[in-house]
Symmetry: C2
Subunit: 444 residues, 2 copies
């Protein structure tokens, strides 16, 4: 509730929560929906939800506030007790933090973490009709702070749950590095025979525009009903609140900072679309689960941390390779230009990328090449200069995303001898490489 | 012409150039169009154009060749003398190499450079009906080898030509780093009052599927007829050979390794579409040239080479920042995750990116933040941890592409004092930042 002074002001000016208001403060003018205050808040901060979906907090004393238009009355989110219904498939929910597990801090307009995963499930009573969801309070980290060790822990928790009889698993996390995590899980869970769905939200669940609800409901449908035996991301497919896409973990990439449909399938198509009613439309080939043979998942969590992802661009300094070699780096993925170039590849230039790359390979480093174009396929054979690189032993990573190649190389070097790791880098293990490119999916 | 032995084999097996053939060599089977040989070629190499558009060379002695289907007869490209017609606008063509200036080497199946820009103009007689094009044989480099000095030289050549009375300019170059070059030209040509069109090709002009012809014809139309006073890229808009898009230089990005429509406008819409007949459809706001006041272009070519672009990702090593600081780096652009994060931003972690970034700023380095999502806008105010970064003085670069922010910072530090450069980094100079995001253009 807003403080007495603020409430009085609102009453006098015929402003109610939900109205569109204009706020001038310190020379900055913002327009948006007046949000309710929290009970604890008597600090004199007005909360306004901007069109962008973000909430801001403005000091009432410094602000000039006026009503622009009348809004819809603002309601509380529906709440329900966690109920478990008979006969529904058992799904494990591994909670790790992120925006889907956070609320707006009405004092600052910023975002902070929820304390318990149940807070999330309480908000979505529909989930109890889809599956028997057991939440596991696992981690409380922002996605940018998730470590390679965390990936292994999540893989183990998911794998153990599946081996204990859960039908599927949902992992909730922040979206910023979600495609790195989901890629790691794709390699770490070998011989998977269940759907593993990673999801999150671009806007926190206490916002009217949050994508958390549809994302979780659709994820539950995939985990409870689909016959997909793969790890993938289930998030909004468009900016409408109508359906989600389930994208293979090794093909997903966050392609927008803030849109709800930020995740895209790169060089592949989404495996399936799913709506809130549980209608699943399969859209491409995928690994199907076998009902007759419920094999155990093999959990392979080794990860070599001494790997790096390097971007090559005009005027970029090849000494960066020496920097990593000097630190004992065992694997390098280069995000080259176009078909897999680095600057100054021609033989007659001094201090070219070529000589530094040669030095790295001579020092036993596995070097893989990808493209910063993201879409398409690298090719070490088209241009003369490229043949110099592939001739040195640089491994061209086909149509694999740079981020996925980086995760894969760390995982390979964490679990295999170097020669074997180098050999497997350009071979398809978890849908990360395809022999034929699906052209029609480019930026669609 | 193919050698006598090969020609005899073709005759006996009723195979002619243009047919679709299957070739088995060393256990690898490829299918594609049989290409003509060059006169110089009597080395026993068969040239086959694959469906991907790439030519491969196969040793006849090692290959088993059979015809799959009858093809269309293969013709030479039309040739014409360079003619100049009266009354057409004068356009400068600055030739710098790249795939548009290259031919297939039939001995290896690789690609090498043309020796003269006229070779390119000879291939496209239509150009002489559009404009009086004066080619300037400027550089012969692959796009990945183009240097920051080259950008300045190109800017000077273009600027001088426009100041000497040319109506517009076309720059031909390789596509891999084209968006870096065009971005540099956008900042280096101040007060532009003419169209400056950068173009190239994804497939070399001696291939039937080359995009060089449409790209050059459309570029000539933009340079000769449009009222656009901006620098931009003119390349295929779709994989059809029907029209090109003219994309603002600070908004274009190569988003596919090999498609002809590889360039996309990010966080903006193409300025215009143009077809081979010269129909120009304007599609968004742009700077219009003034016919009454033909001001001189100011050519500002300073560029600080001690700048770098750093990608932040899970498990990435923040010591990379010290590496650059130690080398005297004056500007750093971070390609962060999501809204502009780096790993381990929280205050209580040791050796976090935060402390290294603070050290860089304390050492006088200008640090800018962008997003590896590419689409969308960074925001230093939404999450608590981000406020720590923006509090240190990290400059959030709005909806600017990471590559553009890198070029811009190098250019700013090459021409302005540090404080002024830092201030201008987040201000719009050449269409690289917009106050409102054009959401509907996301990946469309």
């Amino acid at each position: 509730m807003y403080s007495e002074i603020i409430s009085k002001f609102f009453k006098e000016h015929n402003i109610t929560v939900g109205d569109i208001v204009k706020v001038d403060a310190k020379g900055i003018t913002e327009e948006g929906e007046l949000m309710p205050s929290t009970e604890a808040n008597d600090s004199g901060i007005i909360i306004v939800k901007l069109k962008s979906g973000y909430n801001i907090g403005i000091n009432f004393k410094e602000a000039k506030i006026s009503r622009v238009s009348r809004g819809k009355p603002y309601g509380e989110f529906p709440r329900a007790d966690l109920k478990y219904k008979e006969g529904l498939p058992k799904i494990k929910l591994v909670y790790t933090g992120g925006t889907i597990g956070s609320k707006v801090d009405y004092k600052t307009g910023g975002v902070y973490m929820l304390t318990k995963p149940e807070e999330l499930l309480y908000e979505i009573p529909e989930l109890s009709d889809i599956a028997h969801i057991r939440a596991c309070d696992f981690l409380h980290v922002a996605s940018e702070d998730m470590s390679t060790d965390d990936w292994g822990k999540i893989a183990k928790e998911v794998g153990d749950s599946l081996n204990d009889g859960f039908r599927g698993a949902i992992v909730t996390m922040g979206t910023d590095t979600m495609h790195y995590t989901v890629s790691a899980l794709s390699f770490m869970l070998e011989g998977l025979n269940s759907p593993v769905v990673v999801t999150g939200a671009q806007r926190s669940p206490d916002r009217g525009s949050s994508d958390a609800f549809l994302n979780l409901i659709c994820s539950a449908h995939i985990a409870a009903k689909s016959n997909i035996a793969e790890v993938g991301i289930c998030m909004h497919y468009s900016s409408n609140d109508d359906k989600c896409a389930f994208i293979r973990g090794t093909r997903a990439r966050k392609m927008h900072t803030s849109r709800r449909d930020a995740f895209r399938a790169v060089n592949s198509r989404p495996i399936a679309f799913v709506d809130s009613k549980g209608e699943i439309a399969y859209n491409s080939d995928y690994k199907k689960l076998s009902k007759n043979f419920r094999s155990k998942v093999k959990i392979v969590t080794g990860f070599e941390k001494k790997v790096a992802l390097i971007k090559a661009y005009p005027n970029s300094d090849p000494e960066i390779i020496d920097f990593y070699v000097g630190k004992g780096c065992r694997g390098l993925i280069i995000e080259g230009t176009g078909l897999g170039h680095t600057p100054a590849l021609t033989e007659n230039k001094n201090a070219s990328w070529l000589s530094y790359i040669k030095n790295a390979i001579d020092n036993g480093v596995v070097v893989g090449m990808t493209s910063q174009c993201l879409y398409g396929r690298v090719n070490g054979m088209v241009y003369r200069t490229l043949r110099l690189l592939s001739g040195l032993g640089v491994i061209y990573c086909e149509d694999m995303l740079p981020e996925v190649a980086y995760i894969k190389l760390g995982w390979l070097l964490g679990n295999y001898r170097k020669e074997k790791a180098a050999k497997l880098l350009a071979e398809n293990l978890a849908g990360e490489i395809s022999t034929r490119s699906e052209y029609d999916e480019f930026l669609a």
